[in-house]
Symmetry: C2
Subunit: 174 residues, 2 copies
């Protein structure tokens, strides 16, 4: 990604600086609320919505009796983590004056399908997720490793996955 005045990695440093200044002075900056909604659309398909964006379509693969028309939920979870790390790289590298030429993330994890299907007790999700970040940059090894560790440690999705989260799910009849 090229560098123009005040811009690094496509990130406008003035805008980021203003945002940081604004959040530092905002007593409510620790309470930023995010939301999404999901509509079941029959069989194993669903459409989720966030703001005015195009629906996020999901299905299960044919291997799992789905229609195979869209990524499934545990793939979206990995994509959410990968894209969180990507934006973390872009933002933190820009702030540190590190130019990135490319960032690619490969993510994978293992799931016990029997738990979801009620065939076994236990943990139905990922217990471990492996990520490989392939980064192209002229920064030296130490600077790149420090950037990597900072990005992983401050990733909102990464932190949500790494730490236990309280899930409050209530049912209402329509």
């Amino acid at each position: 990604m090229s560098t123009t005045a005040g811009t690094l990695n496509g990130v406008d440093l003035d805008t980021i600086g203003e945002l940081a200044q604004q959040l530092a002075g905002d007593p409510e900056a620790d309470k930023s609320v995010w939301s999404a909604s999901t509509t079941w659309t029959g069989a194993f398909t669903s459409a989720s919505h966030a703001h005015e964006h195009a629906p996020i379509l999901s299905d299960e693969p044919k291997l799992l009796a789905g229609g195979g028309t869209a990524p499934n939920r545990v793939e979206y979870l990995l994509a959410s983590l990968g894209s969180c790390l990507a934006v973390g790289y872009a933002a933190s590298a820009a702030v540190r004056g590190i130019e990135l030429r490319s960032v690619e993330l490969e993510l994978s994890g293992t799931i016990d399908l029997r738990v979801f299907l009620g065939l076994a007790e236990g943990h139905a999700g990922y217990e471990r997720i492996e990520v490989t970040a392939s980064v192209e940059s002229d920064a030296d090894d130490a600077a790149l490793q420090a950037l990597h560790e900072h990005v992983v440690n401050t990733s909102p999705v990464g932190n949500t996955i790494e730490h236990p989260v309280e899930l409050q799910a209530r049912l209402v009849r329509r």
Copy 2:
């Protein structure tokens, strides 16, 4: 959703039964590997891929110095949870003989933006996620509540979020 012979909630019960039987007899069913990849596409945008599906595009809102062209990462995380619960409802209700007319999920959580931006120490992600499942069905209250609890307890994305997950992220130079 209408019912036809062997199908409930659009879910083919024979296929589900065969899948369960196959997984019950598969010693590797507890090791189902899922993967995704993410390519940083400049500034705060990224494109993630799972199988051959269309790219999962992400951006940050203008409020956070992004382009506002696509959902952001913490929204995808909520969408992933919502769609996981939706497919859980469809599958588990079908197995229990419960017909669903509609399922809608509303999800929200609070994030401390200062941590992501390096302005504060602490947890950068969701510490709590609230979900409201609005379900339309003729099933009685007890059956619907039992279904709800089963769906939440066996959700692969829900379990990943609720429990601590080991994140192994390594850096390689390209």
